[in-house]
């Protein structure tokens, strides 16, 4: 930890500056939008990173809930595997797929989620899954906020409006609201079992996400709005810059999560030690 952290920090800093250079200088100027389009290299990677972090939060919360119950744990394993298989099959069977979804990306997401679930299961203890859930929710909200701030900044000059109640904007906003309420629950809870309550809320939030998406999708297809021109191909040079930026953002998110994770771990250790000392204290004075 002590050695790896600064090394990773330096690497991330180097990668971030390289990505910045690529985004501002190397990437070609967009024909119609001009330089405003370059915000895209921050907006999209932040969004992907935030969604990834929220997914990890959900998986860690499920793990935290089922870990103490072997039977529920087994059922959860099968549900996760079945969901992964269903999304993989569904991606090639279901037509039409919702806007901006491709079979390959759906399969990748499904497989990645199953993989992440079992990785968390293998490498994190029960207590650690809770710390992981807390960390990813906090950092995820930060990245989601970046998405919601950079979006309107771009939309104003390009669409002429700050905000539109389009499906992706609205569902991202609702997702942000759900996770802010999650953090508020953690902050305001007086229970000794806050992790359990928070994990239950995280599961509810995740159940809500598809419903939010489909309800708003239908809502907006009924009333057409000026929305993002879906489809269309992206210049390979732009895609290259985008992916480098995503890598840099992922490294940065990992770095922040790591330090927050260690901080929370140490804080809990300190609290435990203090509680233990408080228990031991009276005895030593009696002697």
């Amino acid at each position: 930890m002590k050695k790896a952290f600064p090394i990773l920090g330096l690497l991330t800093a180097a990668l971030l500056s390289f990505a910045l250079y690529e985004a501002l200088v190397v990437a070609p100027r967009e024909q119609t939008m001009g330089d405003v389009q370059r915000i895209f290299y921050y907006h999209v990677p932040s969004a992907w990173t935030a969604f990834l972090l929220f997914a990890i939060n959900f998986l860690a919360s499920v793990q935290y809930l089922v870990r103490p119950r072997p039977q529920a744990d087994k059922i959860a394993n099968w549900i996760v595997i079945a969901l992964g298989a269903l999304t993989s099959i569904g991606a090639y069977v279901v037509r039409p797929l919702p806007q901006n979804m491709y079979p390959s990306s759906v399969v990748t997401t499904g497989v990645a989620i199953v993989g992440l679930y079992f990785l968390i299961k293998k490498y994190f203890s029960e207590q650690e899954t809770d710390i992981l859930a807390l960390t990813t929710a906090e950092v995820g909200v930060v990245f989601c906020t970046v998405v919601l701030v950079t979006g309107p900044l771009w939309a104003r000059p390009v669409w002429g409006i700050w905000w539109t109640w389009d499906v992706r904007l609205t569902s991202t906003l609702v997702l942000w609201l759900i996770y802010v309420s999650y953090l508020m629950l953690r902050r305001f809870s007086t229970s000794g079992q806050t992790p359990v309550l928070a994990a239950a809320l995280a599961v509810f939030g995740a159940l809500d996400v598809p419903l939010v998406y489909f309800s708003i999708w239908f809502f907006r297809t009924q009333h057409p709005q000026p929305v993002i021109g879906g489809g269309g191909s992206i210049d390979p040079r732009m895609l290259h810059v985008l992916l480098i930026n995503w890598l840099a953002f992922l490294c940065f998110a990992f770095l922040v999560c790591w330090s927050r994770y260690r901080l929370e771990q140490l804080q809990r250790e300190v609290e435990e030690t203090q509680a233990l000392e408080a228990l031991l204290e009276p005895r030593s004075t009696v002697r």
Binding site: L65, V174, L177, I178, V180, S181, M184, L185, F188, S189, T190, S191, G192, Q193, T194, V196, L197, A200, L201, V203, F204, G205, L207, D208, L211, V212, F214, S215, I216, F218, F219, Q222
Partner: protein, 227 residues
């Protein structure tokens, strides 16, 4: 009668009897909803044509806010005299208790809706241009959607500081798809545009109900025992 349903019935009758004698929840809900109706009528001109487009949202916002008043009292009532602790140590299944509370809240909110709907119709000169009978399933599904999650989150917000504020903070973000479905279904029926139908919204609402009822039943025991 099997044991769990017996417990459900016993808790439900107890809650209804308590409410019948005190009328705490229903009175505050009614007054609150009435206030919303009156206050909103100042914010726009309640002529028939305009109110038809707005009423769906208005009605459900009023019911949602009023329901929070009742939901907050659901579990707070059990904290006095440590009744909730008694529930925790009793061998009774937690879900029987949850169902009793949810059904009880459903009855209270449904009663509120039955009493408030004539007022809404009167004040806002409402008349459905679509199939009006469809409003009934929308109301049933929508009320259950509010109540089932509300009962669950009320149990959750019990362990927080300033719990009366915590409940809406937890409930509203999660309820957004259900609220959108209720409002859209109601507006579609009221406006009666033949090119659109409320069916999709009802299916979505039913899906929401099934998903979250299952979720609540699966997780309620954990939440009840988390102290």
């Amino acid at each position: 009668m099997s044991a769990p349903s017996g417990i459900t019935m016993a808790t439900l009758t107890k809650d209804i009897r308590l409410e019948w004698r005190s009328k705490d929840a229903i009175n505050s809900m009614l007054f609150f909803a009435l206030l919303v109706v009156v206050v909103f009528s100042f914010s726009f001109d309640p002529v028939a044509e305009e109110s038809r487009h707005i009423a769906g949202g208005l009605v459900w916002i009023a019911f949602l806010f009023a329901a929070v008043v009742a939901l907050n009292q659901t579990w707070a009532r059990e904290i006095r005299n440590q009744v909730l602790d008694a529930y925790r140590i009793s061998p009774a299944p937690a879900n029987a208790l949850f169902l009793a509370k949810a059904v009880g809240n459903f009855i209270f909110v449904a009663l509120l809706e039955a009493l408030m709907t004539p007022l809404f119709i009167m004040f806002y000169k409402l008349r459905a241009l679509g199939p009006a009978w469809q409003l009934l399933p929308v109301a049933v599904l929508g009320t259950w959607a509010i109540v089932v999650n509300g009962t669950f989150f009320a149990a959750m917000s019990l362990r927080t500081r300033s719990r009366e504020i915590m409940l809406p903070l937890l409930l509203f973000p999660i309820t957004i798809p259900a609220l959108l479905s209720m409002v859209e279904a109601t507006t579609t029926i009221l406006v009666g545009d033949p090119s659109t139908s409320a069916k999709f919204w009802m299916v979505l609402l039913a899906t929401y109900d099934v998903v979250f009822t299952t979720g609540c039943l699966a997780l309620f025991e954990t939440v009840l025992h988390a102290e």
